[in-house]
């Protein structure tokens, strides 16, 4: 990092930690059942990993039962092409925050095919506008101070916003811009915080309200997520939302969304027909991209339990020092060093782990992250031996 970048990063991350870390502690203290739910989420995810192929198949069948369309993408390019085929000739796309779409470079891919794509999550929109990598898996614009956000919005969106504008003024300027994009969007793309294998339901967590609009206003909703997000039942899916919300420091969530297929109604003679007011098409793209290979490895599979709450970032000295330059975005920090090995087959990133183990202390699903990273370092040492 350049000295000026270092100063901004230090300020931004310290403010974030000051706001987030004590908040999570108080949430866990005030709602003690959340720790019990976290344990149940771990057990539910382990059940899926023990029989992953069967759960993928069950999920896809359940999506079809609810009149959605399920797709399985083994690779990045398969995921990109499936999404492009679904979108077809339609041009205007809105994205809710989706890490897996980032993982498969979907926004850039669609833009290269002439699509107009806008991120609607505020943090992700700021990342799109600044053309910078995300610095946190939940809070992608964490590296920007309020002043930096104000200046960028001034330069690129609305000259009336400045570095000294209030938080509310900045949010309002973005909201005004995005409202136009929502109204004309033909396709909404979201991720999934969890997917229920029994009902094929996609569960989504948010505070901004953008996901609700992205999933109901456009005629087509595409949810793209990893196979690691599958849990056995819709009850488990709901539990995972609550746990993610709590350990991300945003509990209770402003909104949770459950989507099971396209919109429908049975208000005329109880005959269920589709579409109703919301989308007429629902697609779930389940992405593998290294996940089943990781699941076959008894140590690496632990990483698939990760619910991507991002709490481990703030306990990590290397993340504090390097920010987004550690890991391959969108996956950074300790979880990112594991996930970069899984989805990019890059084992070298783990070599920067200091095995300080704060990450293990705060992980809600009790992943022994330092042990996984030690193992990835070992894999990297074997690869270096072969290359010599």
């Amino acid at each position: 990092m350049r000295p000026s970048q270092r100063e901004v990063w230090d300020t931004a991350v310290e403010r974030a930690i000051f706001n987030n870390v004590p908040k999570i502690k108080s949430i866990i203290k005030d709602y003690p059942y959340l720790e019990v739910l976290a344990e149940s989420v771990r057990e539910a995810k382990l059940r899926v990993l023990d029989n992953l192929d069967w759960y993928i198949d069950s999920t896809m069948k359940a999506v079809e039962r609810s009149r959605g369309v399920a797709h399985l993408a083994k690779t990045v390019s398969e995921a990109q092409n499936i999404a492009l085929d679904i979108i077809g000739e339609r041009k205007r796309i809105v994205f809710a925050k989706t890490n897996v779409a980032y993982e498969v470079h979907l926004r850039e891919f669609l833009q290269s095919h002439g699509k107009e794509v806008w991120e609607t999550d505020l943090g992700e929109y700021l990342i799109q506008l600044s053309n910078e990598p995300p610095s946190h898996v939940v809070f992608p614009a964490l590296h920007m101070t309020k002043e930096a956000v104000g200046q960028m919005l001034h330069d690129k969106l609305d000259a009336s916003v400045t570095a000294t504008s209030s938080y509310e003024e900045m949010v309002a300027a973005v909201r005004k811009f995005l409202m136009e994009k929502y109204m004309s969007a033909e396709v909404g793309v979201t991720g999934a915080n969890s997917v229920a294998a029994d009902t094929g339901s996609v569960a989504l967590l948010e505070n901004e309200g953008n996901i609700r609009i992205d999933t109901v206003l456009p005629g087509t909703h595409i949810a793209i997520t990893g196979v690691d997000k599958i849990v056995p039942t819709v009850k488990d899916a709901m539990n995972e939302l609550l746990v993610q919300s709590a350990y991300g420091g945003l509990f209770p969530p402003s909104y949770i969304n459950i989507t099971s297929g396209p919109s429908s109604t049975a208000d005329i003679e109880l005959k269920r027909v589709s579409p109703a007011t919301g989308p007429g098409e629902f697609h779930l793209i389940l992405v593998d991209n290294g996940r089943t290979r990781a699941n076959a490895d008894p140590v690496l599979r632990q990483a698939l339990l990760c619910i991507k709450c991002g709490r481990c970032y703030f306990s990590c000295p290397v993340y504090r020092a390097l920010g987004s330059s550690w890991g391959n975005p969108p996956y950074g920090g300790p979880m990112g060093a594991m996930w970069t090995a899984i989805v990019d087959d890059d084992t070298s990133v783990a070599n920067l782990c200091a095995h300080s183990a704060g990450c293990r202390e705060v992980c809600p699903v009790k992943i022994d992250i330092p042990a996984v990273l030690e193992y990835i370092k070992y894999l990297d040492s074997k690869r270096r031996s072969v290359r010599k």
Binding site: F314, H355, S381
Partner: protein, 298 residues
């Protein structure tokens, strides 16, 4: 990742594994000088005080970390292997400080009724560096050599004085490679005296890998020292690393982490205590008031 880091790691692997195979120390060191802190302990015995040269050589390890970028060829590595022990030596000040700490540990253990020996210049290194760099095959292989070394001398118990050695030996025991009993000197210390207010910078290994966070705090609290705590600086979830383990991989990153941790600690406005020679070496580069717990407790 940066190809420089991969190259560094390969230089370290070559240098360390060759030295361990030949001399059972990771870098060329003057073993007589490093074991000259005592002349009073019996040589050998069933129970051994095991320093693994960590207190004596923490600063020397940092010198080697800085040298690594220059060791791009195997001829350079060989030259260092043959000349290093003469050219890279601990400073007089570092030796005096480590001597004071180690002798204080010896006095306290004796006062608690323990009798033990020392291996002097025969003492081998623990292999901690291999473990911490993820060189697990090399660590296991060296661990077997270490087990044979201790078994041949009929050593039954090792008393460690630093967290890196303690962690490496505990891991070797978990791998069923080492059969010798391993204990930390901290487990024996009950009654010590100290005073003043400090902030404890936890060793990550003691605190989060070996489960000694509260035990160390209890030893310190029983001495009369008051520890200043802050939930964002000293809690088990938030206390950051000193940067030490990153030194062999990336010196600049190691120093950035040390600087961040030092800034956090200095905000509490009291001197800093450490229980690890590498923590001392890293934090003292940024802070003036850093002390090992064995420098302030008697």
């Amino acid at each position: 990742m940066n190809r420089d880091i991969s190259a560094r790691l390969e230089v370290i692997r070559t240098l360390v594994t060759e030295n361990l195979a030949r001399e059972m120390v990771p870098f060329p060191v003057n073993r007589k000088l490093c074991s000259s802190w005592t002349h009073d302990l019996p040589r050998g015995g069933e129970t051994i005080l095991y320093t693994s040269y960590m207190y004596q050589l923490a600063a020397v390890f940092k010198t080697y970390e800085k040298l690594i970028p220059r060791l791009t060829s195997f001829s350079n590595i060989s030259r260092i292997a043959s000349l290093g022990k003469y050219l890279i030596r601990p400073s007089k000040e570092d030796l005096e400080r480590s001597s004071l700490i180690l002798n204080n540990i010896v006095q306290m253990l004796k006062r608690h009724g323990l009798s033990f020996g020392y291996l002097y210049d025969e003492e081998p290194y623990s292999g901690a560096l291999l473990l911490e760099l993820g060189l697990l095959d090399e660590f296991r292989e060296y661990g077997q050599k270490l087990e044979q070394f201790f078994a041949a001398r009929r050593i039954k118990k090792l008393i460690t004085v630093d967290p890196h050695t303690a962690n490496a030996l505990v891991r070797l025991k978990k791998m069923s490679i080492l059969h010798t009993e391993v204990m930390s000197y901290l487990e024996f210390i009950k009654q010590v005296n100290g005073s003043g207010e400090y902030v404890l910078h936890d060793s990550c290994l003691y605190s989060r890998h070996l489960g000694k966070r509260e035990a160390i705090r209890n030893v310190i609290a029983n001495s009369g020292i008051v520890l200043k705590e802050d939930p964002l600086v000293t809690a088990s979830e938030t206390a950051l690393c000193c940067g030490g383990p990153l030194g062999p991989v990336d010196v600049e990153l190691s120093d950035s982490v040390s600087a961040i941790r030092s800034r956090q600690l200095s905000r509490l406005g009291v001197p800093v205590l450490v229980a690890c020679p590498l923590c001392y070496s890293n934090l003292s580069a940024h802070l003036t008031r850093v002390y090992d717990i064995m420098e302030v407790m008697r």
